[in-house]
Each structure stands twice: as structure tokens, then as C-alpha cells.
Amino acid sequence: MSEQAGKLRDFHSARWDEPLLVELSSPGRRGLVPPGVEPEIDADVGDIATLVPGGVLRMKPPALPELSQPEVVRHFSRLSQMTMGNDVGNDIGQGTCTCKYSPKVDESLARSARMTDIHPLQDERTAQGILEVLYRTRDFMCEISGMDEVSFQPGAGGQAVLAAAAVARAYHKAHGQDESRNEIITTIHSHPVDAACPAAMGYRVTTLMPDERGYPDLEALKAAVSERTAAIFMTNPEDTGLYNPRIDEYVEAVHAVGGLCFTDQANLNGIIGKARARDAGFDMCHFNLHKTFSSPHGTFGPGCAALCVTDEFARYLPVPVVTGGPCGYRLDFDRPETIGRVKDFVGNAMVVLRVFSWIMSLGSEGLRQVAEAAVINNNYLARLLMSIPGVSMSFGYDERPRLDQVRYSLQKLCEDTGLSSQDLQRRIGDYGLQIYWTSHHPETVPQPFTPEPTESYSKQEVEEWAAVMARLCQEAYETPQVIRTAPHNGVVDRIDESFMVDESRTCVTWRKWQRMKIADAEVPPKM
């Protein structure tokens, strides 16, 4: 380990105790003057009341706050300083999210007027630039997945899974089996949307639990498949970081009964260019362009998912599909068997542009280095973390290398100290690291945490992350009160989470917050 790693940061976050906009508001202030109308228009059309009948005009102005422009800029700039984006923080803890650096040149291209100021319904001949970007990125996705056709319409992974469930419906309907095939099988370590989206499309969902080695139980799958099976929706590698070496046997078992196979490639990062969904027999897969392919996540979107399918399923993809040919790039709406659409227009085109630029900066060799650096970082971090007392690795710290991430457990530490993974999670921000991800639900690993040190982090940054975890565990054993009362130097004090179990305390707007504050003030304090 480098010398630097032993020394932890003396970190303190920005903490502005920033009021709400309504609290800053003062009558008569404003931040912007919108364009008015020329006198000739005014003279011609007259007053708005003569144009629009009285009954449809707003009676009371909206209760929006009134602020000057500098107030607005300072308010939101302060809020941004109380946010630890990837540009300032170390996101290694955010496993399953594949947090990586988003090159600024890609952002600057996405912000150019030739991207931002084009309308999705303008004549295709005037949008050849973006259509070329979409079409060629489609080619890249086909090469990386081994599939034949792609839709970028889904706004994120969940929407791609929803579209895949709709494709399964359309396929079985075309084969006269939509009513009889009403089950989709998933695995407990697949992303929750792999269960939720089939259910949202009316499927009964069966979930496979892991065997003692951490893989979905293959025997249970063989027992579960039947003529009622519409498809399997599964992740590989799962959030455990384990590549399932028998993945093709799962595919065969489902295909054998006439079901389809979709793989959620949220965890692609470590295997880009190493193993492809198509080569394991899958019919469909999706990639998260805002994770694996570096588009920034913007606190939770806009993202984009590439839904990739084999030729047999291309006819069902949402419309429009981008096509290329001697007459230029086009949007093809004439697809009679389409599932319809899951999102407006072609999807988040500016995300695809960033990805196009990213891949054009890396090429095949660069993408190989992305995958390998991510896997090296992950196994290096594993070695460091496994030397920390109280930390264990889910499903055995054995001969199997993990790929992009690992789900660890603090169960031993919890038994020894009474402190939970969530307690330590609250403390990690005090050292200038982003809060770590515990686990998707349900938690199959007790007291979980799931770091994912992608290719974007240096050896020193990986070591820093491990050193902070070591310090947290040391504190848990030696000075547990420090952890119990954390955070200490974060953007905010310990938050009252009683609303989580008391629905009457739920409050998602300032209107209600004002009402609650008044109501609380009227209740005399308990003696």
C-alpha cells in the first residue's frame, strides 16, 4: 500500500444550512424578464382577456417564491456544494451503480447547440448528424452484445426491462401463446426491476434463490420451467461480482420449454469485450449507458438504456428504429409488430452522443483496458478489505476472482459491536467518501456493503477507500459512540427518520411542511 493511504483526509463538507426558497422569497423580486410582445402585436390582438375566455384564465397567481437572480444562483450553487458528485467525491462505495469519470469533452459536445437545439420531429434530412450518431452507436452496441438490433428509447435500465417484458408478450402473442405463458422467472440477485417490470406487464414472477456458492439454483430453475414460462430475466454477473460459469445451461433450460432469455447487463463493466450475452444464448439484453458507458447520472437521470435483441426479436422493438442506407439515416416507424413505445421520441439522444464520443475516444483496446482495470481494482480492493477484522465476503472468499464488484458483510462486526452496516454508512461521509451502497432488497447477505471500484480510480484512491473502511471498523470496536452519533462533519446532522414508519409525517412539499410546523407548534411540549 502506498504511504499516502495511511493518512486519512481531514475533511469537512460545505454546510450552508440553506433555507428553503419560500423562506428566501420577498414580494416583488424576480430573477428573469421573459420576452414581451412588440407593439404591433399588442395593437393587433389586444388584451389577453379578449383572447382567452375568462373561465379558463388562472384566478390566483401560482404561489411561487419571488427571488432575485443572484439569490437563485447562490441558493442552487450552495445546494450543489452540499452534493458529492463524482467530480468531487470518491464513489467507489456506490456498488451496482458503476460510477465512473465522465470525460468533459463528451459533456461539451452534448451541450453544443447542434445537439441541444434540434427538434425530434424535424425533417430527417436536417437531423443526419444525430441520426448518424444513433445508428453508429447502435453498431457498437451490437458488437459489444453480439446482438443484431438496438433501441435507445428506454430512459434507463428499468424501462428497458419493461420493454423486454413487452417484447416477450408480443413474441408469445404472435405464436398464439400469450395467455398460456404467464410466468417470468428471475433471480433474487438480479436488479429489483427484473421482478417489478414483468409484474407491471401482468406476469407472475418466480424468483430463484442462490445456492451456497452464490449462483441462482439451477436445479430449482429446471423444476420451475414449464409451458407456462414466458421468459427468464436475469443478471450476470450478479451483484455478488460472480460470473456464473454455467450461464448457458440456464439459457438452455428456458429455451427447452419455449421460453425467452433476457439478461440485464447492469454489471457489464468488468466483462466488456470478454463475454457477450448472445454467445451465452440470450435473445435480449440491455446496457445502462449512464453507468457502464460513462454518461453522467445527473443525480438520477436522464439516463439511457440500449435494449439489444437478436434478429428474431427486432420486429417487436419500440418505434422508431434508426436505420441507415444509401439515402441516409432514417427513423423507421413502419414496423407492424412493434410493441409500441415506452418513452417519447427516440429516447435521450444526448446520452447516446456522449457514449458515441466516449467509445470513439477508446476503441477496442481502450474498452479492454476499462474492463481489466475495473476487475484489477476490484480484486485489489478485495484483498485490502478482507484483511480488516469484522469484514467478510459473501458466498466465500475462495479461489473465484470477483469481477466488477463484491457484496461484503459486516455481520461479524455487528455481532461484536452491535453496530450495523447502516451505522458505518452514516460515518463514511465524514472522511470525504460518498456513502456506500448496502444492497438491493431483500438483503440476502447480512449487514451488507457493496463497493465497485471502476476503472476510473487510481491505486491510491482504492487504497484510501480501504483505509477509511479499516478506520471505521476500528472505531466500531474501540470508540463505537463516534459511529453511533455520526455524521459529525457532513452537510447535515442526523436526520429524524420517524416519518419512515409514521405516514402522517410524510411531507414532500413546503406547503405541507408549513402546515405541519404550525400544527406541531400548537401541540404543547410533553413534560
Binding site: E18, I48, V52, G55, L57, P62, A63, L64, E66, L67, V72, V73, T83, M84, G85, D87, V88, S112, H119, L121, A127, I130, G155, G157, L162, A195, A196, C197, P198, A200, M201, G202, P245, I272, G273, R276, N288, T299, F300, P302, G303, V319, R341, M350, V351, L353, M360, G363, G429, I435, V492, D493, I495, D496, R505, T506, C507, V508, W510, K512
Partner: protein, 445 residues
Amino acid sequence: MLTFIGVDQVEELYREIPERLRLKRPLDLPEPYRSEYDLERYVHGILAKNVTCDDYLSFLGGGCEKHHVPAVVDVIVSRGEFLTAYFANAYTDNGAFQALFEYQSLMCDLLDMDVAGYPLTCGLHASGTAVRMAARITGRSEVLVPATMNPRRLQQMRTYCQHSEVARIATIAFDSASGLLDRRDLEGKLDSDTACVFVENPSYLGPIESQMHQIVEAAHSRGALLVACVNPISLGVLASPGEYGADIACGDSQSLGVHMNYGGGATGFVATRDLPGHIAEFPNQMVNVTRAGAGDSVGFTMYAYPERLSYRARELAKDYTGTNAALWAIANAVYLSLMGPQGMWEIGETIVKKTHYAKRLIATVPGVALPFSAPSFNEFVVNFDGTGKTAGEINEALLARQIFGGVDLSEDFPELGQSALYCVSETHAADDLKRLASALHGVTQ
């Protein structure tokens, strides 16, 4: 690092992937541009093939609109802290949570509703979500939508609602003179299985729906909910969903400070009143305000009603949720903070006046008709039947004059003949509108 891990080659870390599943060749991808300058030049070269809505005069709308995006909005959403945060966490990202809470609050102020959550991926997604919520709230399974509805919205709704709580989507006719909803047809179709009446206001074809109070009353009298799908930039001047008694408001807020981005600026919203049975049906995340620390400070955190979300409940969730359009929600919040009530009034007034000015100018073009009598907010149908030309031919001729004409409606609404949907915004000057009218004079001859 490899030595520390205990392997000689990185390939050893891939030993769990069997040979038969390995890709045994490099990916076949183009040679990369390793220098930033070369890359930028190359990609700019491709983007140069796009004609922007500044290069040409544009009257395209239909669910994505060109509006002025204030400089402040671009500055804030470009801040690396917001742009590159994955997902807000209570103790490291409370600023982002507060920004999203402000968004929820501002949207509810504008809509006169009480409850909103994180955005949805687009207005279509929001509409589908809203009608599925209405079906769950009422326990009924039919949705009534206007026959004039945005055809992409209907397409998405049919995809999204198949095999769901919504068993049927039926259409309500419209009055061909005014363009407004045919209330007699609505009354005939409302029954005890109607979960909601879904109304676009303004309608996709432009008319401002002036019968909202009566439509709400009709829906409520049969135990159905009213879902109002609105263009939020209209709400400084037009009656809000809360004012006319809508139960659920939804739509797309791209118009509030987000660039078009070839449709990537889309961002959906859903809002309801503060009724526990309604809040529990939201499938998306919400930011909650609560006390933090011992003093008077507040903090923000996620997961109001965690058990309804697919993250927790998996297949038992109300619906699915995931990455949406949070950065654009921050853009919306900045936009509304800058505008305030006065700014929203002024921009609405400007748009209404310019739209009616454009309508008057276009109505003077021989052979061109404006089929609907109802007032518009920012969009209106122009019919070219009297010119002997198709809407496509008109647009082709306008394109040669560097004008993007309105969205061609002839395929989606054959009953309207050769018509197009024109969209006007505050960015059009009187001269731009005169240039359009003059071009139409020229191309219709």
C-alpha cells in the same frame, strides 16, 4: 497490484468465464481518436450535419418545444456536483435532495396540487403512470381519453397498460367546430367502471379546454377521477389543475428551462392532492423534509413510503421505477425560481398573444383554414385542403425557405385532411411570424 492480488496475468481474473463463452477476438470497433482535439473535431463534423431550430425558423411542437433556456439554468445543471452525482444520499448529498424537494414544491405551487415526487422519464411515461394510479385508486379498469390525444401518448399508454389495472382505453369524441371535448359523448361513455377521464389541456391539437369544470363534475358524479395533462409553461395564465378540481395532474416539463435535445429534454411529472390513498399509489421516489439534529434545522431524505417502490417490493410493487430525469427536475426548479409568479404570467401572456397574432396572419393566406374556433395557448391546427397541396408538400416548400413548418397531422388525424400543427413560443418575434405568413402565401400559390 497483480502481485498483491496473487495472479501473474489479468486474464487469470477471468478464469470463471469458461472458454466456450469467451469472445476470442478484440471487439471490432473503429480506430479511436486519442487526442481530445481530434475527437472533438471529428464529432463536431458529424453534428454539423444537424440543422438547428436557430438555423431555421421552427414551428415544431407536438410535445417538445423550443423555449428560451435562461443562462442560469445551464450554469446550475452543468455544475459537476449535480451533473455527476449518481443518486442522492441523505448525508453526503442533502443539497441535491433539497433541490429535488424544491422541485416537488414548486411544481405543486404551479399546479395547485399537494404531492409530487421525482420526475418520470417523460410526459408519456407520466401519463401512463397517472392512469394506472387512477385505476388502482378507484379499483376500476377503464380509462377515457380524448380522440384528439397525442398519438404517441396513446401508443405508449397502450404498451404500458397491457395486462395491467387498466383493461380498456376508450376515446371520447371531439367537437369538430371548436376542437373541444364532446361532453355528450363523454356523458354516454362514463360508467361505473370508469377509473378516470384523461384530458389534455391544452389539447394536443391546440384548443384550450374551456369545459374543465363541467368535465370534472361529470367524472366525479360517476365516481371517476379526472387526470389533467397540462403544459406547465401555460400555468401562469391558464387555470391550474387544482383550480378546476383535477385529482391528478401530469405532463412533461421540458418547456420549463430544458433544451429540446432531439427529445432528450423530456421530463415527466405526476402530482395529486394530499390524500393518503392517492399518495400510496405513486410508484416513484419522493424526497421528504424532516427534522435534522437537535435545533431547528431541517434535512431531506428519500423514501416516503418505501414499501411501494420496486426497489423494496420487487414484483409486489405498485409499478416499476428507476433512473428518471432528475437533472431536468433541477432545471425546472431553477427556472421556476427565476420566473416567479410574475415571470410565469408574463411568459404565458406573451405566448398567447404571439400565437393569436400568428393565427390571424395565417388565416389571411388564401386556401388556408384554421379549423378550430377555440382559443389556443401555443399550438393550433392549420388546414391546407383549400390549397390543393398536401401538408407534406407545404412543409417541403417551407424547408426550402429554411422554415420548419408544423407537425404534419395527415397520417395521425386523416379526418383533419391535409393539416399541420403549428407551435409558437416567446422566442418568435413579430418578424418571424410575418416571415412564416409570407412564406405560406408563397408556397400555397
